[in-house]
């Protein structure tokens, strides 16, 4: 089985994230890392490999500037077998459509090396939080999509997942090849072991440019985007409110008074 897991290198979501003047995300001023939600995707890919017991290869695929290779390295350290970074200046400022185009073309190049059975993704990135690239990938690669899984099982080429939607708990089935995405409920992602960190140094890690995957620079980047950002405004910080200490029920009364004053009661 061949699994490609898509990982994104994102600005640390606990840091003070900003925008550039052209409306793109500032990816320089804040430290980057492997998106937390993609760690779950890597974990599930590794679990599928462990359960399959056969010749399964897991490849981490990432798009980004040079330093995005960190996300690929972390994936290799967790246990992924190979890594690919697609890096090209022209890609900067890409929208969902261009991002999914580059990923799809990279997957197609990997398919040239051997059939890809599962394209594994996280539920969303922690910067754009769109959650739409897996579906776009499925559309571009003409594959079925089985998304937002909290439990993943595979038997041969059959995949069964559990999904908790708002209205129901569902069991969803699909036949490989397919696109699969997993949520943060799918199980704790492993920490790289010391052995894993050492082994990662010897694993194949390639960097591809746009021409390597047959994408024209004109199809990607800020100018080619199908959407444009007009303005980004920081929300004014909330002014500190009143904080009271509860003493013998005073807190409850104060709370009720506040709610009444604001006409919530």
């Amino acid at each position: 089985m061949n699994i490609v897991v898509c990982v994104k290198y994102v600005p640390d979501s606990t840091a003070d994230r900003q925008f550039e003047s052209d409306g793109t995300v500032d990816r320089v001023g804040v430290d980057g890392l492997l998106s937390e939600l993609d760690e779950y995707a890597v974990e599930q890919a590794l679990q599928l490999k462990e359960k399959a017991g056969d010749d399964t290869t897991v490849t981490a695929l990432c798009i980004g500037p040079e330093k995005a290779v960190d996300a690929v390295r972390k994936s290799l350290q967790m246990g992924v077998d190979k890594g690919v970074l697609v890096s090209d200046e022209a890609i900067a400022g890409s929208d969902y459509a261009a991002t999914s185009l580059v990923l799809a073309k990279a997957v197609e190049k990997l398919q040239g090396e051997g059939p890809v059975d599962v394209v594994m993704c996280g539920m969303a990135s922690t910067d754009a939080s769109g959650g739409v690239v897996p579906a776009m990938l499925a559309e571009r690669l003409d594959l079925p999509q089985v998304t937002l899984a909290s439990v993943v099982e595979a038997q041969g080429d059959q995949v069964r997942v559990k999904r908790d939607s708002d209205t129901a708990t569902e069991v969803i089935g699909g036949t490989m090849p397919l696109v699969l995405s997993v949520t943060d409920q799918s199980g704790e992602a492993r920490y790289p072991s010391f052995k894993g960190i050492m082994a990662a140094k010897k694993k194949p890690l390639e960097t591809w440019s746009l021409s390597d995957i047959g994408v024209d620079a004109g199809e990607v980047g800020l100018e080619a985007a199908w959407t444009a950002v007009a303005d980004t405004t920081a929300r004014p910080p909330r002014t500190a409110g009143e904080i009271v200490k509860d003493e013998d029920g005073s807190g409850a009364v104060a709370l009720a008074e506040f709610l009444a004053a604001k006409k919530f009661i």
Partner: protein, 317 residues
């Protein structure tokens, strides 16, 4: 005037509130055409409801041949309708499914997609709340037919009857679209409380509840509120994931958000930071949540909430 396609948000034919909000936004952009993909038996009732809130046209797609095949056939149906009607825009509710339909549609129609809009202006400018609610972003689709997924509570429903002309539509569903399917489904029990993403008031509980959500639920009921939970509470198995407010759960922006026993980590703030009024009850006066609040009580929620609930019920008379 151009049509604006609005995908009806419903549960087995029971129309949900975001549909009316999207119809109100659609009116700014053109003539709303509701698209109902659901059980044919409910089509009449759905038509009546969306017409009341401004639908000039109602496309009825019987979901019997599509049922269980998830988003791919729905995206095909919408794409075929879009090709037929050349709409000025396509509005879709911002659910997990809605965003995936929008995503596939974006590639099929080679058109720009804006996700999680909280407003859409007459000229098509969209507004989004990004980076955990720390930034407001305005933008526009620049290619093709704007496809916009819209969050609940983004507009007030506007009653005002449209023509409601019904057109039955039978999409051509490809074999490829049927390669993933729902094998089994266990519906959730309705809580009897307002829908979390649509509620005007949300009362949430976190680690500080210690697993006992009764004080939270009783306060919620006194206020007619929805109940939410922090990731810690969900990970501990105290509440189902559908109640989770935060980066990997729901994002809410109610009139009032009451956070109880919730420290206020960034992942939670991402889900509620834009609420109009924020209140917190927490034993720890250093909890980051207190940086966000309009009012806070430092105290034990197991004492404060029941007393507050009693006080509120007394005042309600």
């Amino acid at each position: 005037m151009s049509e604006v396609l609005v995908l009806v948000d419903h549960l087995e034919g029971a129309v949900r509130k975001p549909t009316y909000e999207l119809l109100a936004l659609a009116k700014r952009l053109g003539e709303p055409s509701a698209v109902y993909i659901g059980p044919a038996a409910q089509a009449g009732e759905v038509t009546e409801k969306v017409t009341k809130f401004g639908a000039e046209k109602v496309y009825v797609v019987d979901d019997a041949p599509l049922k269980g095949f998830l988003v791919a056939p729905k995206a095909e149906a919408l794409a075929q309708l879009a090709e037929k009607s050349s709409p000025a825009a396509i509005l879709i509710p911002s659910s997990g499914e809605g965003k995936e339909i929008g995503a596939r549609l974006s590639i099929k129609l080679q058109s720009g997609l804006v996700t999680d809009a909280v407003d859409v202006a007459e000229d098509g400018t969209t507004t989004q709340s990004v980076f955990a609610g720390n930034f407001t972003l305005t933008g526009k689709v620049t290619k093709g037919t704007p496809i916009i997924t819209v969050k609940p509570n983004s507009a007030a429903p506007e009653e005002g009857a449209g023509a409601g002309a019904v057109e039955e539509f039978t999409p051509t569903v490809s074999d490829a679209a049927k390669k993933a399917q729902i094998v089994a489904a266990q519906p959730r029990k309705a809580s009897g409380r307002p829908e979390l993403t649509e509620a005007a008031i949300v009362v949430s509980g976190g680690r500080g509840t210690g697993g006992n959500f009764e004080p939270v639920e009783n306060l919620a009921d006194a206020l007619g509120a929805a109940v939410g939970a922090s990731r810690a509470a969900v990970d501990s198995g105290w509440m189902p994931h559908t109640f989770q407010v935060g980066q990997t759960g729901k994002t809410v922006s109610p009139q009032l958000y009451v956070a109880n026993g919730i420290s206020g980590a960034i992942q939670h703030r991402a889900g509620m930071q834009t609420s109009k009024t924020i209140v917190a009850v927490n034993k720890d006066e250093e909890a980051p949540i207190f940086e966000l609040v309009d009012f806070g009580v430092v105290g034990d929620l197991h004492k404060v909430l029941p007393a507050a609930t009693e006080e509120i019920n007394k005042r309600k008379g």
